[in-house]
Each structure stands twice: as C-alpha cells, then as structure tokens.
Symmetry: C2
Subunit: 482 residues, 2 copies
C-alpha cells in the first residue's frame, strides 16, 4: 500500500492530497462516491488523523471533494462535468446480492492489522512465518522442474496431489479412500462454502457447535440456513443434544470440529464419537467433520476421526494444509461420496475454474518429501512451547481475572474473563495498546470470552502482548460500568 514519504520535503498532508486526487481521477472514487473515513485513512496511511483532515480540506478547497469533516466526505459531481445520473450508484450495487458482509469485529481486526503491521497478533488463526516450512517449500520449488502443462485443472483437483493424499489420509488419519473420492479445495474454507451453497437450501436447519468457528463465517447466514446450537464442553458436543435438536427442527446437517476445536480446544470424546455416528446413521443425517488441527497434537496421535469409523457413509471429511504448513498455500481437501464430490466439483468450476496447479504441485511434493515428518515434529514442539509461553504470561498478568482449559493441540487458547467487560471496548483498548485478539462473541457464545491464538505471534512478543492486553482490561475495569 502507498504510504507518504516521511523523508520528503513535501508536507505529509500535501502528499496525501495529491495521492487521493490521483485515485479520484483514476475512478477509484467516482463522482458522488464516499471516501474512507478520516480515522480509517489515518490508520491505513500510518499518520495522525489531523494530517488527513488537512489533506481533505486541501481537496475541499480545490472543489474535488465535499461534505463536512467528521460526517462522510464525497467526491463532488460538478468538478468532473458529470451530473448525478452519470455514474452508476456503486454504493447501491455494493449492497446487492445475498452475500452478507464479514462480521464488524473481523473487519475491524483486519483493518487494524493492515494499518499497523507491528501490532502483536493474537487474532489471526494461523502459523507465524518461522513455524511455516517456507525454506523447505522454497527448496522444493527450486529443485523440481515445474514444467507440467498448466492448463485448466481436473475439476476435482490435481491428480498427483490426490494420489499422495490417499496414503497420507491412511497413515495420519486412518481413513481409507481413493483419489476419486477426494476433492481439492481452496483450504477448508472453500469446502465449507461449497457445502453450504450447493447441498443445502435456504431455510434448511443445521446444527453447529457453540461456540464455533462457523459463527465467525457469515457464509452460513448468507446461504439462508437456520443455525441451531450444540453446546461444547470439555468433551465436545453431546449426541443427546443433537437428537433433541433433530426432533424439534428437522436438522439437515451437522457441522463438527472434533479435534482441538476452534475456539475451545475441546476434543470430542471417543464414546461421543461412537454415539454421534450411530445417531447420524439412525437419522440418515450427514455430518461434516472439519479436521484442520489433528496433526498439531502436542502429545501423540489424536483420536481417530469420525470418517475412519463411518460404516454408514454419513461423514463429509475436510482437511487442510493451513494449520500444519501454510495458510497462504490455500490447499485443503474433502473426502466424500461420489455423488457429492461430483456435484461440488461441477459447481466449483463455475465459481473459479479450480485451483492453481502450482500450489497443488508444491503441496504434493512437500507431502512426499523427507521434509514433512521433521517439519511436523518441529511444529508440534514449537506450538507447545508458544502455548506454554502464553499460559505463563496469562498466569503472571491475569490470575483471578481469567480462566481457561489447557489445549493439547491446535493454535488457540479460549479464555473466560471473570469480570464483565464490553467486547468491543476491550478490543479498541487493546488495539490502542498494540495488541489484537478475537472477542468471544464472534464465535456465537455470550460475550465474556476471548480467543488468543498463540501460533501467529512471535514467541518473543507473547509476553509483551499479554501485558498490553492486561493493561487494556484493567483500563476498562477502572471505569465504572454505566
């Protein structure tokens, strides 16, 4: 992103005014359209709000923009020889369609991070650069000749990748399958998107865990689904709750994240797995098993997935490289009955014509290489190390103010806040102090929880991040609640 040049003799506000004038003249902000708020621009450009206010007043005096400082600022119509009807009402178009915008908290976090990359990041659910196998991947890329024909890919995904996933799934997840049952997707995310868009219809009732990663995705509401909650305890969701929901709402599908659940870290108990599968097959109810974290397990193998015990063929299984290698690869997979794989592959063609072949080649090489096992070992150790750093910092800074269960795998720690504080205010206080986390209400449960991702921040920043968070929390506690 463009930033003003602090070494230049030209004042910051004038640089910003010129930059905005150019973007306006190129049509990024057509006549009549709204400019970003002063706060947002200041954050994006890394300057004080007063500098943006100066730049705006410069543009206002040139007749390029109009509207008062503070309330929305718009590009003028007249200056450009255009009358109101001349430009499409882009704002109205942007509000069209069925697609709900991302949750405000998630947008706010993204905005804060893109404006100030030095924020200590307990929010992004991914690995830090040093945990990702970047060097291994770079080596593989320079060693192998990627001269395969780069035409449109097979609708189910790159065949050699599907071929190496067969023994991978067998070895690490005890799942028996063939390449023809596998669909490669852009991470788990696209698998979830395809399921909600193509297998369910508006008005259908689905059950999801509470709290759950799924609540952070407006995708479920965008598809018009009615969401019903399965409370998660230490052993995950309870089969009896599912039966009750099914009776009352004719649930059409269940979404579970059985291992190191996001956000709670819970692991679905073996007894519950068995009863859930029995129930699913008794009711003919499909189960979506979202399983991105299993291989991060710090202490040996996690329980077998539902899919490995799925005699009745009730389970759609989803995996991903995001949490064990790199989220920027965008390689995930689904294992599903033929009718489903064909349907989803067909629909995906229409959305994006499939994934790029190159990251699929890289992923296949990486899985087959001698790098994979040592990488996993190192990843697990380092995740556990970071988890322990986080826990030590929390104990030092916040004893009595928070409580949590120690997770045995995954990237996240789910904390209950003892005092009652306002989610949004806590987030703003934290951002002001240079740290971000995800407010618990994003995951559907009542507020009063916080998700800390310990995988993304650098180990040496974890302490400072928690100190800042503790300051933010204490600042709110000092103010008497209204």
């Amino acid at each position: 992103m463009w930033k003003p040049d602090r070494e230049s003799k030209k004042p910051l506000y004038a640089q910003i005014a010129d930059h905005l004038e150019q973007r306006i003249s190129y049509g990024e902000f057509p006549p009549g359209s709204q400019l970003p708020s002063e706060r947002k621009l200041a954050e994006q450009l890394g300057v004080n709000r007063s500098t943006v206010i100066l730049a705006f007043s410069e543009l206002r005096s040139m007749g390029i923009i109009e509207g008062k400082s503070g309330s929305g600022t718009r590009v003028t119509m007249t200056k450009w020889g255009a009358t109101p009807k001349h430009t499409p009402n882009w704002k109205r178009y942007a509000e069209g369609g069925n697609f709900l915008p991302n949750l405000p908290f998630m947008r706010r976090i993204r905005e804060a991070l893109s404006g100030a990359p030095a924020l200590i990041d307990f929010a992004s659910g991914e690995l830090s650069g040093d945990l990702a196998p970047s060097e291994e991947i770079s080596n593989l890329m320079s060693r192998h000749q990627y001269t395969a024909y780069l035409g449109y890919d097979h609708p189910q995904g790159y065949i050699p990748l599907r071929q190496v996933l067969v023994p991978y799934l067998n070895k690490y997840r005890q799942i028996q399958t063939t390449e023809s049952s596998i669909l490669i997707t852009s991470g788990s995310q696209q698998s979830l998107y395809l399921i909600t868009q193509c297998l369910l219809s508006p008005g259908d009732a689905v059950a999801i865990e509470d709290p759950s990663y799924c609540y952070s995705l407006p995708m479920f509401q965008s598809a018009g689904l009615r969401l019903f909650r399965l409370p998660v305890d230490r052993d995950g969701a309870c089969p009896e709750d599912l039966r009750a929901l099914y009776r009352r709402h004719r649930i059409k599908m269940v979404f579970l994240n059985p291992n190191y659940q996001n956000p709670t870290g819970a692991v679905l108990g073996m007894e519950r797995r068995k009863r859930l599968l029995e129930l699913a097959s008794e009711l003919g109810l499909p189960v979506v098993e979202d399983d991105p974290f299993s291989l991060t397990s710090y202490g040996g193998m996690p329980p077998a997935p539902l899919k490995a015990m799925d005699a009745a063929g009730s389970v759609l299984y989803i995996g991903s490289f995001s949490k064990i290698a790199a989220s920027g690869l965008r390689v995930g997979w689904m294992v599903a009955p033929n009718a489903i794989v064909e349907r989803l592959a067909d629909a995906r063609q229409q959305m994006d014509f499939g994934l790029s072949v190159i990251p699929q080649q890289v992923a296949a090489q990486f899985l087959k290489s001698d790098y994979f096992e040592p990488h996993l070992d190192r990843l697990r150790m380092q995740l556990q190390f970071k988890r322990d750093l986080l826990i030590a910092a929390l104990k030092r800074e916040l004893t009595g103010l928070i409580s949590f269960t120690v997770p045995e795998g995954g990237l996240h720690l789910w904390c209950k806040l003892v005092p009652q504080v306002h989610d949004g205010k806590l987030l703003e206080e934290a951002i002001r102090r240079g740290v971000v986390f995800v407010p618990g209400s994003v995951y559907g449960s009542d507020s009063g929880y916080v998700r800390f991702t310990f995988a993304r921040a650098r180990a040496e920043d974890i302490d400072a991040g928690i100190s800042r968070f503790a300051e933010a929390l204490r600042a709110l506690l000092e103010v008497p609640s209204p």
Copy 2:
C-alpha cells in the same frame, strides 16, 4: 485415475470388479447410492462396455450391487448390515442449493476428454502446452527464492502482483489505476462469479451479448438473473439495442467482451464503444468489460478498452493470464471503484480466503521479467499460424458446408453450418471419430453454429481433427432427417 492393467494376467473385468468393490467399501458409493452408468464407466476406464457389464454382473452375484444392466445400478443395502434410513440420501443433498449444474454439452465434452485424452480437442478454450510459457515459469521458479511468508493473503490479492499490474495495465491497455483499485481473482471466472453473486440480486435484469461465453455459464441463471440479449455482428453489440432493452426491462448491468469476443471473434467498433459509454453514463448503468484476449491480437494493438475512456466511472474491467500465459495459473484481476473492490474482496474471503500466494508470485515475476514480451510475440505468431492451419483445413474439407469470419485475435473460430444438423448428434458423431468441438447452442444462439478453438490442439493435429469433423458431419447428412 485408476485404469485396469492390460499386462496383468487377471482379466480386465475382474480387476474392475475388485476396484469397484474397494471404492464401495470405502464409502465412495455408500449403500443405496447409484453407480455411474456402464457407458460412463467404460469411457472412464478406457474399456469396452461389455467388460463393465461383466464386472457389474460379478458384483451383482456377490450381492454388492443390484439393479438390472442398462437401468441404474445401485449399491445394495443389506450386504452392509444397513437399512435404508442408515445412509444420508446423498442424491437428494446433491440436488439441493441454488446452484445449477454445468450444461450437459459441457459435461459431455469433459467426460469424453477425460476418458480419451487422445481426442483432438477443438473444445477447450485454452492454449496448448507448447504455447504456454512453461519453461519460462519453471526457470523463474527455480531462480527466485520463494521464501515470502505464506500466511493468509491480503483480501484484494498479493500486493507485489497488484503493483506490477499497474504499469502493465497502463502500457498494454492504456488504463490508469492504482494497486488499491485492483482485486486479484481466480481467473476472470471468479470476477464474473463475484459480480453476479454480490452486486446483483435475484430477479435483476442484465444484458449480455448473443452469442456469448456467458451463456455457457449457468452461474448467471444460478444467481437468478434475467438475461436479455444484445445481438453481436461483425462490430460487436449495438448501443441502440442496449437502449431498447433498458427501456423495456430496466437493465441493471451489461456484460461485454469487446475484443475478439468469445465465441464470434468480433471486435467492438470504436464508434460503438463511445456511444456505449455515453449511454452507460446517461443511464448510470454499469458495464462489465471482460477482456481476456486483447494481448493475443495478431496484428498489433487492439482498440483501447472501454475502461481507458471511462470518464464517468461506469466500467468494471476484468483481465486474466489464462489466454496469454496459462489457464492453470488461475490469475485474473478486476479494476473497479473502491466500494466494489472492498465489497467483493470481503465476500471472496468468505468463499475461499483468497488465492494461493505462490502463483501470484510467479505471475508477478513473469510480468516483470524479460520473458514476457518475447513470449507474447511468439504466442501471437503461433496463434495466427494455427488459425491459418484451421482455416486451410476447413476450406479443403468443408467448402460450401460452412462459413465464417476470420478472427484477428483470440483463440476461437466461429462457424456457421450451412446444412441443418442436430447439435448433439453431431457432437456424438465427432466424439466417436476422435474429435471434440463446442456446439454453438451452448453460447445461446440458435443451433447451426460450431466453435472451433484452434489454440488448444497441437498444430500437427488440426488437419486430422477437421477431417474427422467433416466425416462426422457427412455421416449425419447421409441419414435423411426424420
């Protein structure tokens, strides 16, 4: 894909029966589900239909499948200790959602190609392996250190790629823009998908060219849009037709492919470009300019895009690497006003969390490299050469039976068939003889047209392909129409 081993002592039918039994036991075909038809399986496995019939009867005698040969074959319920309610009704789920399946002709062509890769391919709208810069890309990949942090990408796409697209768009397409107005997508396809899903609502009327690539995409119907046709002549679509459609149907958006239009090859005349833009700004009507072919122009620069003359900010511009480098890269871009870029980037996050970083790095390197210009020169020459081969073959084999206009860019030749033949029958006759093309009706116009892509087949196969096509056509002409 698994194929039976023709060297093995085990008979083909027994290998196929074992293979199917395994896939059934793994849950690819759960109890009660339907197996692919005998014809389809035979095509996939590259065997005679009678071999599949034998394999099926073996499985039938083992009680694994049931149903008569010819009518649908299903996996039995009883053998697996399951009663009908035990498995989700996957077929019903596969029919859910709003998403229409791909067109039967497109599925048929894909099926035929995946069963018999040696078919001469005049159907796939892409470059052949030797036209793609595979070696250049392979060199770039081994030369550069791809150790950038592979985290979730910026919602608008990889910043260095957007940065090199700014001078690219300026140099080759006379478009002035900044990186903040660019959204990177999975080819043009995902740009179109995002526009239809997120900016338009069910029931909205849109205008598209007739014939048009867009008719081959059920995506427009899936979004519930009402489609109205702008007939295409040698100079593209006519502004007056758009005005008439707008009056009658309150058109909300226009989709145009102004340069070397797919399928006709037409180039929108300069006068019409100007009038279209005036009309769009008079009506406040957004224009989607889909421009994947411009840089293939065989004889110098094609006309400036609408976007370059778009003073009123009416145009959403879409470009892609698919037709000038490699479709398997899956890198395309949209240039649009800020409100639209932000909205679509936000929605795309929910669908797939963005593109893989690696192909975007590769695309950026390629654009910046000294390989790009020479590659373009070579590509244009070779496309023209293949076009001429195709035309020579058509003249030799089919004079009097077809007519066409010679395209000056792009990958396709659009032919009118003089005799009246049945689209689907012609396609089957052609597949039987080892060649595929796309029936014209896929693009929305009346039948009686054929699209030949000359870019995908190897130059040395073009002659033989057209001979086979001519045989197929003649075979139909000999049969008196009913």
